[in-house]
């Protein structure tokens, strides 16, 4: 495709992609303090990968993150989220009760929210990357 040889697009994407991925991590871990969280961060991270895929094709993108890796991440995030709930039960609380996760309830809440938001983030990123790959490879 001619898009992939356009130097302006290639160079500007090389500038943009690291910034997009970094911004996704910022949105992910700053969600407690400002707008954002796992859903938005996952989508932004996936959009960085999608931009790379659009310019370099699925073959090179799959060297960065393959369809199978993305699928595994999608499942891992959901497992992490549900696992935090089960871990709470083991520590003597209710399912998804974060108060028991640390020495005092507020710290436990911090940990719980941070971990489940991370789970949400990797699930959303994994799902969107996989769906995009699925569509991109469909024609072939």
């Amino acid at each position: 495709m001619s898009v992939r040889k356009n130097p302006i697009l290639l160079e500007s994407s090389h500038l943009l992609i690291p910034a997009i991925l970094l911004f996704a991590l910022y949105v992910q871990f700053h969600g407690d303090y400002g707008p954002g969280g796992g859903f938005q961060a996952g989508v932004i991270f996936a959009s960085g990968i999608i931009l790379y895929t659009l310019l370099h094709g699925t073959k090179r993108a799959e060297k960065v993150i393959s369809l199978n890796t993305a699928k595994v991440f999608a499942a891992l995030g959901l497992l992490l989220y549900a696992g935090v709930g089960v871990f709470g039960i083991i520590l003597g609380g209710n399912y998804l009760d974060y108060n028991v996760l640390a020495h005092d309830p507020v710290h436990g809440q911090h940990w719980g929210i941070l971990i489940i938001e991370f789970g949400v983030g990797i699930t959303v990123a994994g799902v969107i990357i996989s769906i995009f790959y699925a569509f991109a490879k469909f024609k072939k």
Binding site: P35, V106, F132
Partner: protein
């Protein structure tokens, strides 16, 4: 603006332009959410609605066709259903409390507790995150499960699973 975009979407026959207008519609709704001080929702709308949905629609379009097939079916029944539903929705808005009414149920039920006590109970400044990730953690778990289910459904439909590939070859 939203209405103009929506009417343009209905009038268009070229699916590519419809998808682009859909992205614009999402971006306009995002600005609308910012006006309502719902920055988290606006953020999601801009990222998912304007960004990812548009890209996914475009990639779906690449796998199908560019123009909408002209249908010669009778449009009277669908139009009737839409009109009746729309009239019902507009009629039911008359029962809703006025915009910004402090006595509206949404402001008197659990919201005061979240605003007054989430700082002590959860200890993070963004109340939206407290509600989403802690008070309503079960709902969010369900949402993540829905997202994951969507992935499974897409992979099954597009036949990219390892099992189905073996079936074909």
């Amino acid at each position: 603006m939203l209405a103009v975009t929506a009417i343009a979407i209905i009038a268009m026959r070229n699916i590519l332009s419809v998808i682009m207008l859909g992205g614009i519609y999402s971006l306009l709704s995002a600005t609308f959410f910012v006006l309502l001080d719902a920055v988290d929702v606006a953020f999601t709308e801009a990222a998912v609605g304007a960004g990812i949905s548009t890209v996914l629609f475009l990639s779906a379009l690449a796998a199908t066709g560019k123009h909408q097939a002209l249908t010669r079916k009778n449009h009277i029944i669908p139009v009737f259903v839409v009109l009746v539903t729309g009239a019902g929705l507009i009629y039911s808005t008359s029962d809703m409390p006025a915009f910004g009414d402090p006595n509206a149920p949404v402001h008197t039920h659990v919201a005061p507790r979240y605003i007054q006590q989430s700082g002590e109970e959860i200890g993070i400044p963004n109340i939206v995150t407290s509600v989403l990730a802690s008070y309503r953690a079960f709902d969010t778990l369900g949402e993540v499960a829905v997202v994951f289910t969507a992935l499974i459904a897409v992979l099954l439909l597009l036949g990219l699973n390892r099992g189905s590939r073996q079936d074909k070859s």
